[in-house]
C-alpha cells in the first residue's frame, strides 16, 4: 500500500478551503497551518498564466526529516505516511531544517507538527479533511499500489509533476497539469 495525493491545478481555484478544513479537523492553532496555497504568475499582461497549488508534506519515500530525527519521533507508518509522535518529539527542529518543502512547523506546545494525510480518518476509510471539503473536487487521494484507485487513474490519464524533484526525496503529492 502506498498513499499519495494528486491535485488538479486546472481545477484548483486557490480558495484555501483545504487549509481551513485541515485547521478545524486537526486543531491546528491559529497562525499555523499544515497545508497552504501558492500562486505562481508567469508572463506579462495580457499574456499571463497562473498556477495555483495546494501544498503540504509530500510524504516522501526518501524523507530527510525521518532520517535526521534524533528521537525517532518522525517515523513512517503503513502506506508510506510520515508522522510525528508528539510524545517523543523534543522540538529540536532538525526535521524542519531538513525538509526541502518547508512542510513542518513548531507547534506552540513544543513539538513539531505537519500534515498526517489525516491518518486518523484514512484508517477509518474516510478521505483526508482537505480532500473531502475541496469545492472543486480537484484533489484525489488513494493507494498507488491499487491500479484502479482514483489516484492511479488520475495519474494515468493526465500529465503531472512533483515539486523539487531534484531534492531526490521522491515526493508523493502529484500536481496534474
Amino acid at each position: 500500500m502506498r498513499y499519495a495525493m494528486a491535485i488538479d491545478t486546472r481545477k484548483c481555484v486557490g480558495c484555501s478551503d483545504c487549509v481551513i478544513a485541515c485547521q478545524t479537523e486537526n486543531n491546528v492553532p491559529l497562525g499555523y497551518c499544515r497545508d497552504w496555497i501558492t500562486e505562481t504568475v508567469d508572463g506579462s499582461y495580457p499574456n499571463v498564466e497562473i498556477e495555483l497549488r495546494s501544498e503540504r508534506c509530500n510524504h516522501c519515500d526518501n524523507s530527510p526529516c525521518v532520517r535526521c530525527c534524533p528521537t525517532g519521533a518522525s517515523h513512517i507508518v503503513e502506506g508510506g505516511v510520515v508522522l510525528v509522535e508528539h510524545g517523543l518529539c523534543i522540538g529540536c527542529g532538525a526535521c524542519i531544517q531538513s525538509c526541502p518543502y518547508d512542510a513542518r512547523y513548531s507547534h506552540p506546545e513544543g513539538w513539531v507538527d505537519k500534515c498526517t494525510f489525516c491518518n486518523h480518518r484514512v484508517t477509518k476509510g474516510e478521505k483526508p479533511a482537505c480532500v473531502s471539503v475541496c469545492p472543486t473536487k480537484c484533489m484525489y487521494f488513494g493507494d498507488l499500489d491499487d491500479p484502479d484507485s482514483e489516484i492511479s487513474n488520475a495519474l494515468k490519464n493526465r500529465k503531472h509533476k512533483v515539486l523539487a524533484p531534484e531534492a531526490g526525496t521522491k515526493p508523493h503529492i502529484f500536481y496534474l497539469i
Partner: protein, 749 residues
C-alpha cells in the same frame, strides 16, 4: 464636528470573550503516554455531537452539520451530503463559520446610548429595558408620523423576523442592500426579457454547459458554492470558458479565451456579439421564432455595432469577438452568458444585463440543458397570523415615482426618503438595521450620514460591533446562526429542498435570536396576535407538519428533498410556453422598458475615463471572505488579514512602487483612504485600473483583528452612477491615485 449622533466605540465592559479552542478539548494530557497524546490530538471519535444547520456566512445558505463537544464547543462544520447547494462541501467561509461563533469581539449584552450632555456612551441594559425602549420609541414615532416611517434594512435570516414585525406594525419600508447595491439590475434586466428574475441561487445549468461566459464575474474567488463546484465539473468535461475582465481573475486563468476588456465598455462588446450572432446566422432560428418578440427591431438596432466598431471602444480585436461568438453558438443551446451577481457598475447596468439576457435568448439557452433551467422551490405555509394592516405610503411615494422598475425596495431609496427636504411629503424617521453594516455597504457616505443624523431613532441588531452599531440608539446583540433556530431554508434549486437550522450550542453571553427579539417587541406593541406561538420550534413543527415532515425528522436529517411541482427542468422540443412578459414572449425588444420611457434595446454610452495619474478602482471578492462581515472572524482572518491594491508593473515603475509597500489611495474627489493599503505589483491587472478586495479597512477599533487592516473601497466610492431604471448604485466610476506619505490629518478625515 459635533453631531447629535456621535459614533460610539462599544465598550468591552462585560464578560471576557469566549475562550478560543486551543487549550480545551484537544490539548495534550500531560504525563500520559505518547500514544495517548497522539490519540487525543487526532481522534475525538464519537464524542462529538452533530446538529444540522445551514450556513449564514453568505446567502447561498449551504446546509451542514455543526460538530460540538460535550461541553458545548463547536469544533467544525461539515457540509450536508444531501444538500444540492453544497453537496457535502462547504466553501472556505462556511468551513470557517466556527470563527463567527468563537470571535471574542462579539456583542454580549443589549446597549443603550446615553449622554451626559457632553459625551455620548453606551451602557449595558437588560433585554426588557432595551426592548421596552424600542417599542416605546416605535409607538411614539408611529403616533407622530405613522407606522410607515419606521424602516428596516436587513441582510440574512434576521430580516424575515423583523420584516414580519414591521409588516404587522404597518410599514412596508423594508429593504436589503443586496438588491440595489448588488444584484438588482440583473433581476430587472432578466425580468424585462424573460418575465422573471433570477433569484438565488441562480438557475444556471453550469454542470452540463459546454460554454460558460463570465463577464466580470469571478467564480472561484466568488465562492458561491455549488456554482463553483459545477464550474469545476464543466472544466472536467472540457467546457469552454470565456472570461471578460480587465483583471486576470482565477476564472480567467481557467479560460480558453480571456478578453482583457477596457473597463466600462462591456455593452459595446455585448452588442457586437449580438451583431455577429445575427449577421452570421448563428442564432437558434426555431427558438427565436417560437419564443421571442422583437427580433427584427433588434436586428436593425445592432446593424451598426460591428466587431470593428467595438474594437475601438473595448480594445478587443474583431477576430476574437467573432471567434468567441462562434464558440458560444457552437455550444448552443448548452451555453450560459452568466448574468453575474454584483452588477452595479456604471448606472446602465440594467441595460447591460438586458444585453446578456438577449444573447442567452438568441442562442436558445434559456430553459435548455446546459443553459438556464426552470428552478423549483418548496412552498411551506406561513404560521397562522392575522392579515397585515395596509400601509398608506412607502418610499416610492416619498421619491415620487423615481426608479419605476425597481422590483424590490432599494436601500439607497430608503436612505433618500430619510433625508428631510423641501417638498418631501413622507419621511422615514426610524431605522431597524439587522445584519447589514451600512457604512461599508452603501456608497455615498455623506448621504448615508445625513440620513442617520436626521433619524429620530435607530436600532441595530448584529452579532458584532460594526461601523453601523456605533450610530445606534439601541444595540440588540444577536446570537450567531450556530446558536439558534431560524426559518426553514426554502431557496430554489433543480429540485425543491427544505433545510433546518438548529442550535449547536447555547447562545453566548446575553445574546438572543432575532425571532425572539421580534416577538418580544411585537408583544410590547400590542401585536401579540401576530406572534401567537410559544417559540419558533412550535412554528417550525407546525410548518413542517403541513408538508408531511416534522421538526423531529428535520433534526435528524437536516435537509429533505421533495418532488418537483414546477414541471420539467427544461423546455421540451417545440413546447408551447408562455413567458410572464407583456407579450407572453421573450422580449428582445422590451415593451416594459419602452412603456416607462427607457431604451427598449440596450445602447452603449461612453463613461468617463480616469484623469491623468488616476486609475479606475475595481473591487471584488476573496474566496475566504464575505465582505466586511468576515474580516474579523479569527479563522478567516488567519487566511487573509488585509487587502492589497493590485497595480500593473508598468504603473508601479512609473510611481516607484514595490510589492508590500504601504500607500494611501486618494480618489477623484480628494477623499483619502482612512488607512494605508499594501501594494501588490502584478501582471494580473490592466494598466488603467487598480483592484482591491472589498470589505477591509474597518474603522471600529472594537474589531480587534480587522481594525485598520487594509483599505475600504466603499470610502473611496463617492461618485455613484444611479441606474434610472431601478435605482442601482453604479460604483465603478471612481478613480484613485497613490500617496506614498501619510497624508495630513485634515485630508484623512
Amino acid at each position: 464636528m459635533k453631531t447629535r449622533r456621535d459614533f460610539i466605540k462599544i465598550s468591552a465592559a462585560g464578560s471576557a470573550g469566549i475562550a478560543l479552542a486551543g487549550g480545551g478539548y484537544f490539548s495534550v494530557v500531560k504525563g500520559s503516554s505518547a500514544a495517548e497524546k497522539t490519540k487525543k490530538l487526532y481522534d475525538y471519535g464519537s464524542s462529538l455531537k452533530r446538529t444540522p444547520t445551514y450556513c449564514e456566512i453568505c446567502f447561498w445558505n449551504c446546509a451542514g452539520w455543526a460538530y460540538t463537544t460535550e461541553d458545548g464547543k463547536i469544533v467544525k462544520i461539515i457540509g450536508n451530503e444531501n444538500d444540492p447547494h453544497c453537496n457535502g462541501r462547504l466553501c472556505t467561509r462556511g468551513t470557517g463559520g466556527v470563527g463567527m461563533w468563537s470571535d471574542s469581539d462579539r456583542l454580549k449584552t443589549p446597549l443603550i446610548r446615553v449622554s451626559d450632555g457632553e459625551k455620548q456612551t453606551y451602557r449595558e441594559a437588560s433585554w426588557d429595558e432595551a426592548l421596552t425602549l424600542v417599542a416605546t420609541k416605535m409607538k411614539e414615532i408611529a403616533g407622530k408620523y405613522g407606522p410607515e416611517s419606521v424602516a428596516l434594512f436587513n441582510h440574512g435570516s434576521a430580516g424575515h423576523h423583523f420584516g414580519h414585525l414591521l409588516k404587522a406594525f404597518g410599514s412596508s419600508n423594508i429593504t436589503a442592500p443586496s438588491y440595489a447595491q448588488c444584484r438588482g439590475p440583473r433581476e430587472v434586466g432578466f425580468a424585462a426579457t424573460f418575465g422573471v428574475g433570477l433569484g438565488s441561487p441562480e438557475p444556471t445549468d453550469i454542470r452540463d454547459t459546454r460554454c460558460l461566459v463570465l463577464i466580470g464575474s469571478h467564480l472561484g474567488e466568488n465562492m458561491h458554492n455549488s456554482q463553483v463546484q459545477e464550474m469545476s465539473d464543466a472544466i472536467d468535461k472540457g467546457a469552454t470558458i470565456i472570461t471578460v475582465d480587465p483583471r486576470f481573475s482565477v476564472a480567467a486563468s481557467k479560460s480558453k479565451f480571456w478578453l482583457p476588456i477596457k473597463p466600462a465598455t462591456d455593452i459595446a462588446l455585448l452588442l457586437a456579439w449580438i451583431n455577429v450572432i445575427i449577421n452570421e446566422n448563428l442564432y437558434d432560428k426555431s427558438y427565436v421564432e417560437k419564443y421571442t418578440y422583437g427580433f427584427d427591431e433588434l436586428k436593425n438596432h445592432v446593424a451598426a455595432f460591428t466587431p470593428e466598431w467595438a474594437y475601438g471602444i473595448t480594445t478587443i480585436k474583431p477576430d476574437i469577438i467573432r471567434k468567441t461568438a462562434r464558440e458560444m453558438a457552437d455550444a448552443a443551446p448548452s451555453v450560459i452568458v452568466h448574468p453575474g451577481r454584483h452588477v452595479t457598475w456604471y448606472g446602465d447596468d440594467t441595460q447591460r444585463t438586458r444585453a446578456i439576457a438577449i444573447i442567452n435568448a438568441l442562442l436558445g439557452a434559456y430553459g435548455r440543458r446546459g443553459g438556464f433551467y426552470f428552478k423549483d422551490s418548496m412552498s411551506v405555509p406561513e404560521f397562522p397570523s392575522p392579515e397585515y394592516p395596509k400601509p398608506t405610503w412607502n418610499w416610492r411615494d416619498t421619491l415620487k415615482g423615481k426608479y419605476p422598475l425597481a422590483g424590490l425596495a432599494i436601500a439607497n431609496g430608503l436612505v433618500e426618503a430619510s433625508i428631510p427636504e423641501e417638498g418631501k411629503e413622507h419621511l422615514i424617521k426610524a431605522w431597524i438595521v439587522a445584519g447589514t453594516n451600512l457604512p461599508l455597504t452603501m456608497p455615498h457616505k455623506d448621504t448615508l450620514m445625513k440620513a442617520i443624523q436626521s433619524l429620530d431613532f435607530m436600532v441595530v441588531v448584529d452579532t458584532m460591533p460594526m461601523e453601523i452599531t456605533g450610530y445606534a440608539d439601541v444595540i440588540l446583540p444577536e446570537c450567531t446562526y450556530l446558536e439558534r433556530y431560524d426559518d426553514l431554508r426554502l431557496s430554489p434549486n433543480r429540485e425543491p429542498y427544505i433545510a433546518l437550522r438548529m442550535p449547536a450550542t447555547q447562545p453566548y453571553a446575553e445574546t438572543k435570536p432575532a425571532w425572539w427579539m421580534a416577538k418580544q417587541i411585537g408583544e410590547k406593541l400590542g401585536l401579540s396576535s401576530f406572534f401567537a406561538f410559544k417559540d419558533i420550534e412550535e412554528v417550525l413543527d407546525w410548518q413542517l407538519k403541513q408538508v408531511g415532515s416534522s421538526l423531529e425528522e428535520m433534526q435528524r436529517v437536516g435537509v429533505k428533498k421533495f418532488d418537483r411541482q414546477a414541471g420539467p427542468l427544461y423546455l421540451a422540443d417545440g413546447e408551447d410556453y408562455e413567458f410572464h412578459t407583456n407579450t407572453g414572449k421573450i422580449e428582445l425588444y422590451a415593451t416594459e422598458m419602452a412603456a416607462n420611457g427607457f431604451d427598449p434595446m440596450p445602447v452603449y454610452t461612453a463613461h468617463p475615463e480616469p484623469p491623468d495619474g488616476f486609475y479606475r478602482l475595481i473591487y471584488g471578492r476573496a474566496p475566504m471572505h464575505t465582505f466586511s462581515r468576515t474580516s474579523n472572524n479569527p479563522n478567516l482572518h488567519d487566511l487573509q488579514k488585509e487587502n492589497h491594491v493590485w497595480i500593473n508593473p508598468k504603473v508601479a515603475d512609473l510611481w516607484g512602487l514595490k510589492t508590500e509597500q504601504k500607500v494611501w489611495l486618494q480618489n477623484q474627489d480628494g477623499v483619502v483612504s482612512k488607512f494605508p493599503i499594501k501594494v501588490r505589483v502584478t501582471e494580473r491587472i490592466r494598466w488603467d485600473s487598480v483592484y482591491m478586495v472589498h470589505g477591509f479597512g474597518h474603522s471600529d477599533p472594537k474589531l480587534s483583528r480587522a481594525f485598520g487592516r487594509g483599505a475600504s473601497d466603499s470610502d473611496l466610492i463617492t461618485n455613484v452612477m444611479v441606474d434610472p431604471i431601478m435605482g442601482g448604485t453604479g460604483m465603478r466610476g471612481n478613480f484613485v491615485t497613490f500617496l506614498t506619505e501619510e497624508p495630513g490629518k485634515e485630508a484623512a478625515l
